[in-house]
């Protein structure tokens, strides 16, 4: 049963037997939904790492600056 592709042409595929808008908007939404919830976390991770790296370097720089000033 799997060997039957239901469409003979690409335009027919796009047309979805008259339900193009409904079918494609659902699959479109689904794609957006999946992508958003995978890529937003990934992008956020990059941001977090960047931000934390910046802070880390910043505080290390501050420590270095303080060390020669010599309260220890």
């Amino acid at each position: 049963m799997l060997d039957v592709i239901q469409f003979s042409s690409f335009s027919e595929f796009l047309h979805m037997g008259g339900y193009a808008f409904n079918v494609w908007s659902v699959y479109g939404l689904f794609a957006v939904f999946i992508m958003a919830n995978l890529f937003l976390p990934l992008r956020k991770k990059q941001q977090i790492l960047k931000e934390q790296k910046r802070r880390l370097l910043f505080s290390e720089a501050a420590d270095d600056a303080q060390a020669p000033a010599g309260d220890k």
């Binding site: 049963m1 799997l2 039957v4 592709i5 239901q6 469409f7 595929f13 979805m16 037997g17 008259g18 339900y19 409904n22 079918v23 908007s25 659902v26 699959y27 939404l29 689904f30 939904f33 999946i34 958003a36 919830n37 995978l38 976390p41 990934l42 956020k44 991770k45 977090i48 790492l49 934390q52 790296k53 880390l56």
Partner: protein, 247 residues
């Protein structure tokens, strides 16, 4: 057993373990999703009544079914937060709420789109599934709203945990009361795609694959978000700082 439990509660342990699992989960998800979508879009025969619009259902049913998992999930995580004070449970719960709202929203949206074909209307108050899903959506938004309103993150964690537990009970009650309400209002009974309809079993196999895929997606997305949360909340920990330096 207890040791394992305590260990699982450690964000570091979870971070490392999930690093190992993620590739497998993502792989399985990708395969199942593409099988489901390609099958759904290319191979699935048209429904004898609804034509190709039945292809919507694969997505709709999978997302709808999965979205019901969120309140139980959050309630369990909430109990763990309140009883064992496990930070990890709250990190999961915190990210589960918005994800659950996404799921509910997509259920509502795909359901509406399907409804516009099968019922000729985008929204129908006489269907109990619609109405109770709408209120589940509201409850999730309530949890999110409470979380953002309480500034103290520790307090917010516990408050949301409690609300999730109360809400979980409520989702069940709402579901049944709405159903009962509707049977009394004589619902306009929509066409049903039952397993023994003339469509044959393919539809249900495709749906099953989709459901599995969407569950995997839920896991992957939640784990990704939780890992971010760990990086933020544990930013002072040595291991996170080492990790940041490596990047």
């Amino acid at each position: 057993m207890w040791l394992w439990f305590a260990k699982l509660g450690s964000p570091k342990w979870f971070y490392e373990l999930s690093s190992k699992w993620l590739p497998w989960l993502v792989g399985a998800m990708a395969i199942l999703l593409s099988v489901g979508v390609i099958w759904g879009l290319l191979f699935l025969p048209p429904d004898y009544q609804q034509g190709y619009s039945s292809r919507i259902l694969i997505v709709h049913v999978a997302v709808a079914g999965t979205s019901l998992a969120f309140f139980p999930l959050m309630a369990v995580a909430g109990t763990i937060t309140l009883v064992w004070r496990m930070k990890l449970a709250d990190m999961v719960a915190k990210n589960a709420a918005p994800l659950g709202a996404w799921f509910s929203f997509i259920t509502l949206a795909t359901g509406s789109i399907w409804g516009s074909v099968s019922w000729g209307t985008w929204w129908e108050w006489t269907d109990s599934r619609l109405v109770s899903m709408l209120f589940q959506f509201f409850l999730l938004l309530g949890v999110i709203s409470l979380r953002s309103a309480l500034e103290d993150s520790d307090k917010a964690a516990k408050a949301c945990a409690l609300l999730s537990i109360v809400g979980c009970i409520n989702v069940v009650i709402i579901k049944y009361s709405v159903e009962w309400w509707n049977t009394l209002h004589q619902p306009s009974s929509p066409v049903s795609l039952s397993p023994d309809s003339p469509n044959g079993p393919e539809f249900w196999i495709a749906t099953g694959i989709m459901i599995l895929a969407v569950y995997l997606f839920l896991a992957v997305s939640l784990i990704l978000a939780t890992r971010n949360e760990i990086l933020v909340r544990e930013r002072q920990a040595q291991w996170v700082q080492d990790l940041v330096r490596q990047e």
